[in-house]
Amino acid sequence: MSINIFQLYNDEASKELLDPGFLAFEIRGNPRPDWREYWGIRGYFLEHVLEEDSHYGFFLPLFKTQTHLTAEKAFSFIEKNPGADVYTFSPFVVDSACYLNVFQQGEQSYCGMLAIMEEFFNRIDIPIDFKVLINDFRTTVFCNYIVAKPAFWRTWFAIAERIFNIAEHEKSSLNERLNAVTKHGHSLMQIKVFVIERIASAVLALTPDLKVANYLMPLLPRLYYPCRDELRMLNALKIAYMTSQREHYLRDYFSLREDVLSRCDPDFRKNTA
């Protein structure tokens, strides 16, 4: 049993960002930058046999910048929480709390994502109602900051490869929409990258039997700090809805979320004014 956390890089600049506590993993020549880190992970899974009892993770060079965690802290968290199938180190607590699931959050940033996801999951016979799918802190994973056993990765890779094949080989509207370019900060990226990023959260939400230990990021954006307890409350309401299926928890969730966003998100205030 071993913990194999690789940190990807593809040039000198990204190599300089690596934490020596992780295993450096070069995407040599970076032949398909359009797939971002998936190209590296895919190459690994196609070329290696995974050990059932071992954990694997594939982190970006920006791991420390995005999570404020070192390799030492990540390993220490895993050591202190033995026996989990999956360890997550997802940043962006606010996005996790303030959206019912990562796909609704994605729709907010990349218009059209929900329709793509619905079509894709219907295609693979996993119908999901994204209006009620819940990702709580336990199952929200951004940036693929996840360290997991093959029990998780097999499912993840099976789904990700279906996306890959559609985006690479199929002549269809879904193919076109997956390859459509969208803005991401100051750069342009294809929407398939953000779709792949969210598969981990879908797998975790759909397989509640996986034992997950999630490192909850303690740092919040400054504007949200006064609402830190409300962010927890939002997560609690999501969990209560999941366990009871009582609709009133969702109503309370959306009401509190509006209150939090009104207080903390200037863009939300502007858009609803």
Binding site: R138, L216, R232, M233, A236, I239, S244, Y249, D252, L256
Partner: protein, 311 residues
């Protein structure tokens, strides 16, 4: 599969309150009013063999008054939610939300309950930290308003019988504490009655695999201090925080729970009765129990005391 719901009665007055859709169960002569309804439930379990696939429930004559529900609603709730091991119809929304568990609530109303419970559970070799033990709406059941299969009742009866025999032998400090009178509104009842009432909630929390359908507690009639009515949303949030804690064991949820709970209690009652406790896990017996301003509807119908003909 048969649903056997008995409704207890003691005399003509309580008989008149029965819902004809339930099966009347007379507590003949009411020989041991100190055990309240447990005496009748116990007798039933000792004399009858339960069928594994059947459901059983034992409701008080006040069921309709406390829950606003008629027998047809109970049967249709069960029919609409097939496959449960347990169906609950607990009427106490604020009590279920505003206390981490039914024992914290009990300890506030009947100081000394938690230490007694801990001593009793020690005998059963069950270790529970009541300051972290949660009853949410699924598992907080007051008044024994529960319809369940033997998979539940067998465990319940095993525990209650241990308590029964300790109290009946009356040869230990624990027995004396169980039999000691505690305030219940303006009446005095033995602590054992309030502990027995809470064994259901203990078991439901300890047995998460039991499939429980809880009738929506928010639709129950408003019985307590009406100040709570304005805090319905907060009470739902309190319940969500308990569920989140039980799901994650993240103590931050408990911190937020107790902070919000304190605000609710301060607004709804603590200001009125000068309650100074932040939590109620350690309440000295000498402390005056918390009171609510409700008129206890059970009191007029408290089982009459008959002379035990054998003594």
């Amino acid at each position: 599969m048969k649903v056997n719901i008995f409704q207890l009665f003691y005399d003509k007055k309580s008989r008149k309150m029965l819902d004809p859709g339930f099966t009347p169960l007379e507590v003949v002569g009411n020989p041991r009013p100190d055990w309240r309804e447990y005496w009748a439930i116990r007798k039933y379990f000792l004399k009858n063999t339960l069928r594994e696939s059947d459901y059983y429930g034992f409701l008080s004559p006040l069921f309709k008054e406390k829950t606003g529900l008629e027998s047809r609603q109970i049967f249709s709730f069960i029919a609409d939610n097939p496959g449960g091991d347990v169906y609950t119809f607990s009427p106490s929304f604020p009590e279920a939300a505003c206390y981490l568990n039914v024992f914290e609530h009990g300890n506030r109303c009947h100081p000394g309950m938690i230490p007694i419970m801990e001593e009793f559970l020690d005998i059963l070799e069950i270790r529970i930290d009541f300051s972290k033990f949660t009853n949410d709406f699924r598992s907080a059941v007051f008044c024994n308003y529960i319809i369940a299969k033997p998979i539940f009742w067998n465990k319940w009866f095993t525990i209650t019988e241990r308590l029964f025999h300790i109290a009946e032998r009356n040869d230990s400090q624990l027995a004396r504490l169980l039999n000691k009178k505690t305030e219940y509104h303006k009446a005095s009842l033995s602590m054992k009655v309030f502990i027995i009432e809470r064994i259901t909630s203990l078991l439901l929390a300890l047995l998460p695999d039991l499939k429980v359908f809880d009738f929506d507690i928010q639709s129950m009639p408003w019985q307590v201090n009406s100040n709570y009515f304005a805090y319905r949303k907060e009470m739902v949030q309190l319940n969500a925080l308990k569920i989140a804690y039980a799901d994650s064991f993240d103590t931050e949820y408990l911190r937020i729970y107790f902070a919000l709970r304190a605000r609710v209690l301060q607004h709804c009652e603590a200001m009125e009765c000068n309650e100074t406790y932040i939590n109620f896990f350690q309440v000295e017996e000498s402390v005056t129990p918390a009171e609510s301003d409700e008129e206890d509807p059970d009191l007029p119908w408290a089982p009459p005391r008959y002379e035990n003909p054998t003594t």
